[in-house]
Amino acid sequence: MRIKSPWTVKASFMYLFILILLSVAAPVASFYDPQAVDMGHVLQPPDQDHPLGTDELGRDNWSRLLYGGRVSILAGTSAMVVSIVVGFLYGAASGFIGGVFDRILMRVVDALLSIPGLLLMIGLQLLFKPGLLSVIFVISFTSWMIVARLIRTEILSLKQNVFIQASTVLGASASHLLFRHLLPRCWPTIIVLAVSGISHAILAEATLSFLGIGIPPHEPSWGNMLMGAQGFLLGGAWWLAVFPGICIISTVLSILFIGDWLHGRLTPYDMQTEVRGWKRIVWK
């Protein structure tokens, strides 16, 4: 739930800020064109010219990492936004209307959740031309179900409140109830889901690209840089695998820390005190 020492959270915010800054300013911050082939400097280990080395076509690793960060951030946030919007509308409709409608909608969610996410992504990806847009669509299509389910639960319990009944009696329309009363009270859940959604989407994008069905190989992304590195790893080109991996891990880790901290902040549990009681009584 909540991490007491917020230095992890501060460091995470700092890291993400720098990452976003560098990715946005990628044309300025990189010394080479990420797609420029330089056959004279193939598979160079890190040195003065290329601080993070070069890949099998002599492309600069640092520049590719920066441009790859753009793809990851863009894919992560847009897939998250789409899945949150779809999931909220679906879950809210299901919980709000209720009855048989609700039961059918939730069984559809159950069915889609039973198909392993990556298999669904692989299948869906066959329908489209590989690229950023299709990756975003495929990831959001496979991740809105959890949002829908949690929002539905939230709406169901909120609906029991007296003020909802009061506004219904006063003749409030469904959209008024939904967007004026229920949505604002769902924000804590939505924010927590959004943060974990981004980290999920970044990992999913990297996995898809790594498997060769995500972002096409000539466009740099952390996932397909790792796919490219696979063939040269056994030859000792560790810099191709280590740096994109570190980028993915640190980004996802920062987002997880922030999400965890927000979760502790936004969910009003008074467990913290109760647990201290347990500690005082029992373990001392």
């Binding site: 392993p116 298999l119 560790w238 201290r276």
Partner: protein, 321 residues
């Protein structure tokens, strides 16, 4: 209990039914005519009249619901059609991959339990301690490592630098012969889940410790050890168990990556391969099979949880617990 089981069974059937409709519609959305997929390149040379006859024979002119029923009857009877890339029966191709994938999943599950139970309980009991912080940071670390990256690094370290473990394949000669091949894939598959299991167990243990009945037990002078093992752990084990069922879907997704990297001849690798080769009949069979496995496992786990925890049964009947 019987009523609960029947109700749960009916729900599982409903989910399977809806899921199979989704799969069927999905096949129809895929590019290419199903008739063309069977006849291959020759299909282009046929005249229109012949094509009409073929679609007639395949039942493609019937209304969609009738087609769905035909497809489902074939699927239930194990007639999945023919793999377009190898020409073998799909059920045979799939059948070969089940045992390796099961072995992989089972051993990674074993590793997960081994690595997550103790840290989860300890950090749940001593929330806010240094131990808890360390476990938390480690579990987040595990969650954020992409499995394919970990696989690559482990391969580099253990196979290339140290030369201890083989990089690919499954090995022969029973379990002992396969063990060296199994270690790395099972470990990689387990790592990302270990993080989630630790977090889950930690949260549930700490919720249970806050309950009034624990304080009542303490007041009666029951020892910490008894409270922990007789009351806290059983309480926290129910959500743990149900998460194990829910995580089967993501474990199956994980096998796609892990099996592809380590060339493990399982279902996951087959799925990706068939998608790459546009071998739709194998792909569909793999997806449908995984879905069925997930639904049945969840059904089983729900029944076990209900047998352990009577509160779940009354919840299901709609009573207030």
């Amino acid at each position: 209990m019987v009523l609960f089981a029947l109700k749960r069974l009916w729900e599982a059937c409903l989910v399977l039914f809806i899921g199979s409709i989704c799969c069927f519609l999905f096949i129809r959305m895929l590019p290419g005519d199903p008739a063309a997929a069977i006849y291959g390149g020759q299909y282009q040379k046929l005249s229109d009249a012949e094509r009409m006859r073929i679609s007639e024979n395949l039942g493609l002119n019937e209304p969609l619901p009738a087609q769905y029923i035909n497809w489902l009857t074939n699927a239930v009877q194990g007639e999945w059609g023919i793999s377009s890339s190898t020409g073998e029966d799909v059920s045979e191709v799939i059948g070969r991959t089940i045992q390796p994938t099961f072995l992989l999943l089972f051993s990674s599950q074993l590793l997960i339990f081994l690595f997550s139970v103790l840290p989860g309980i300890v950090s749940g009991l001593r929330r806010g301690s240094i131990m808890d912080h360390m476990v938390t940071v480690c579990s987040f670390m595990f969650m954020s490592i992409p499995s394919f990256w970990l696989a690559m690094i482990l391969m580099l370290f253990f196979s290339v630098y140290l030369g201890l473990l083989p990089t690919a394949g499954m090995g022969t000669g029973g379990f002992v012969g396969q063990l060296p091949y199994l270690i790395m894939p099972a470990f990689v598959l387990a790592v990302s889940h270990v993080g989630y299991y630790i977090r889950l167990l930690r949260n549930h243990v700490s919720v249970v410790t806050g309950q009034p009945f624990i304080m009542a037990l303490q007041a009666r002078g029951i020892s910490n050890r008894v409270i922990l093992w007789k009351h806290i752990v059983p309480h926290a084990s129910v959500p743990f168990l149900s998460y194990a069922g829910a995580s089967l879907a993501s474990a199956l997704a994980g096998t796609v990556v892990v099996e592809t990297i380590f060339s493990w001849p399982g279902l996951g690798r087959l799925t990706l391969k068939s998608a790459m080769e546009h071998d739709y009949s194998v792909l569909m069979a793999a997806i449908l099979l995984s879905m069925t496995a997930v639904i049945l496992t969840n059904l089983l786990i729900d029944l076990i949880s209900a047998a352990i925890d009577p509160r779940l049964r009354s919840q299901m009947r709609g009573e207030k617990s």
